[in-house]
């Protein structure tokens, strides 16, 4: 991404009706972890405490579809556990992903959640190695 300092690891980017998320890292796994932080920031700007650890697994035929699966796995855990997550760890082996999410139950007063992410989409979907050698992972989230 042009103009983004190397120490910036994630961003939300504009889309007509929704919001895009992008993460950067030394590996695809790290870029996935950073993009997941951006996903949390779609919902809240408040601090999210790391009280509970949740494990997810997913699989997809290619790295871009795997990125969408990863974000959708987080969205599923957010929705069904009524939680927000503030830290992520990803391990990618071939077409499979194992992820750990650390977070806490939603506290409406403290988190004042804005948009609820509904699903990750294939719009603006890109997982690639950039010119500076960093990996980036991005797509638009339907909210």
């Amino acid at each position: 991404m042009n103009g983004v300092a190397p120490d910036v690891k994630w961003e939300r980017f504009p889309h007509d009706a929704d919001i895009g998320v992008r993460g950067w890292g030394a590996s695809p796994a790290e870029a996935f972890e950073q993009a997941a932080l951006a996903l949390t920031r779609v919902a809240t700007d408040a601090e999210v405490r790391e009280l509970v650890r949740v494990e997810v697994r997913c699989e997809a035929p290619d790295i871009e579809l795997l990125f969408v699966e990863w974000l959708n796995a987080i969205i599923f855990e957010m929705a069904t556990r009524n939680m927000l997550f503030g830290r992520f760890k990803v391990n990618i082996i071939g077409t499979q992903l194992e992820g750990s999410l650390w977070g806490e139950p939603v506290d409406v007063a403290r988190h004042t959640p804005a948009c609820e992410p509904k699903g990750a989409t294939y719009t603006e979907l890109k997982v690639a190695r950039e010119e500076d050698g960093r990996w980036s992972a991005a797509c638009v989230i339907d909210v």
Partner: protein, 476 residues
């Protein structure tokens, strides 16, 4: 949008001539000023939809069209199964059967103003809204399946609604052909505790004043009286619909490839209607339609409970409940012949004209109410389906104002707290758990809904009946 790429048919009708793999033209209904503001992506997406197998007539975009997923939001396309037609999860959208219902209160604006603050507080208290809100209803497996089959009728059987509502809901409140067994456990799990919740984003419950009547005869038939008040709810099938949309989008990428369908965009993923995946999606999607119908019926019931407390002698009567993210099997006349088509409406409202068999007796001579949501400050419109609706876009009209600015841009321009204060001075009370959510939904972030409905009327999609202005808005 660069209008030099379009053929102008008349002031509100613009054609993209078939080129490349397009099987039919694309038609955008909008006036020149709206069209110039519509994203170039809409051109691309409307043209892409026109390449799908079995498409009939044209790929249509409504005056509120904006950049969507595969299909433009504000997109309408009909497919013939006998001609290899497809069904597309992206063409329905993630929030399956998202829609609007309006209820008549018979109350005057002055009645509301007297209790406006406490009414707003009570509604905010009683209507679960936003991420992290808790619904009071938890469904076990058997109740989940019963809900997915029964829709609004299921809600009424449980005491959350009134029998007289059914004829004022599309499909009589129950979408036939729902197959809960086609819906994944994950999708059902997402819905377990979400019945009777509003959601977030652009969803809302509003108490609205009828500030202008455009057509006195139709308004009278609809029960709309100047300076009276209606309650309008905008929401959909919550987590269930989103999960179904997500899962089938993924599966249909493979199905389309296997069926030899060339996709210009992965989000256009689709399956032949006459295929195992196509039929399974339709069974699941119809379950999600029932979920949305049940959800809006329950929310309507919650609103009734609050109003009963404040106004014990008044009943809320349902004007109509109509979805704008669906695929429905409908009979339409094409080139003089009746054909059974699978009509996708993604961010487009069904708009049956007078005489349509689907309409209840009281509405049949007049046409179907077309409920158009605006934004918090600028209000909403009620239109009616016309004689020309079918010919123009398979009986479809716009669904809202459509965004002019992204959420991102809105956050830079507005503060939620300042907006709430500003709107309060105009007599509009906003209640939301999130100041950021309010800023993202700022009235200025939306197009002029007045221009959108005027274009819809000029294009013959639907006819304006009344304009509404919010008094109270509950947002997730």
């Amino acid at each position: 949008m660069d209008i030099s790429r379009l053929t102008k048919v008349d002031a509100t009708t613009w054609r993209i001539e078939p080129h490349g793999a397009m099987r039919v033209p694309a038609i955008i209904y909008a006036d020149e000023s709206l069209l110039r503001d519509i994203d170039d992506k809409v051109y691309e997406q409307a043209a892409n939809v026109a390449t799908l197998p079995g498409i009939v007539g044209a790929s249509y975009a409504m005056p509120d069209a904006h950049w969507g997923y595969g299909f433009p939001i504000g997109g309408v396309a009909a497919f013939d199964p006998e001609d290899g037609g497809v069904v597309s999860a992206g063409g329905v959208g993630f929030d399956i059967s998202c829609g609007v219902r309006s209820m008549l209160t018979g109350l005057k604006v002055t009645d509301i103003v007297r209790v406006q603050n406490s009414l707003a507080e009570s509604l905010f208290e009683q209507i679960p809204a936003g991420l992290g809100s808790k619904g009071a209803i938890t469904l076990d497996d058997a109740e989940m399946d019963a809900m997915l089959r029964g829709g609004a009728r299921w809600a009424i059987d449980h005491g959350w609604g009134e029998l007289r509502d059914l004829e004022r809901i599309e499909e009589g409140g129950t979408m036939a052909g729902a197959q809960p067994e086609c819906i994944s456990e994950r999708a059902k799990k997402r819905q377990q505790r979400e019945m009777g919740t509003l959601g977030s984003g652009n969803h809302y419950l509003e108490v609205q004043a009828i500030v202008e009547i455009y057509d006195a005869t139709v308004a009278r038939a609809f029960g709309l009286v100047q300076d009276e008040v209606v309650v309008t709810i905008h929401c959909g099938s919550r987590g269930l619909g989103h999960q179904i949309g997500t899962e089938f989008l993924k599966e249909m990428v493979t199905t389309a490839k296997d069926a030899g369908i060339e996709l210009p965009d992965r989000e256009l993923a689709c399956a032949p209607i006459r295929s195992e995946v196509g039929e399974r999606y339709l069974g699941a999607m119809r379950g999600a339609i029932n979920c949305a119908l049940a959800n809006r019926e329950i929310l309507g019931h919650f609103a009734r409970r609050v109003f009963k407390h404040f106004f014990p002698t008044h009943d809320l009567a349902l004007l109509y409940d109509v979805s704008h993210n669906t695929c429905k099997v409908e009979r339409h006349e094409v080139d003089g012949k009746q054909r059974e088509l699978y009509v996708h409406r993604k961010g487009a409202t069904r708009a049956f004209g007078p005489g349509h068999a689907e309409l209840p007796e009281a509405l049949r001579p007049i046409g179907q109410p077309v409920l158009i949501g605006g934004s918090m400050g600028t209000g909403s419109h009620i239109l009616v389906g016309t004689e020309t609706s079918e010919k123009k876009a398979f009986s479809s009209a716009c669904h809202g104002a459509g965004r002019a600015l992204s959420r991102h841009a809105a956050l830079k321009l507005w503060s939620g707290r300042a907006l709430i204060e500003e709107l309060a001075t105009e007599g509009i009370l906003i209640r939301s758990p999130s100041m950021r959510g309010v800023a993202e939904e700022a009235p200025g972030a939306y197009k002029d809904v007045g221009a959108v409905v005027a274009a819809a009327e000029h294009a013959g999609l639907a006819h304006r009946v009344a304009r509404l202005r919010p008094l109270i808005c509950i947002k997730g």
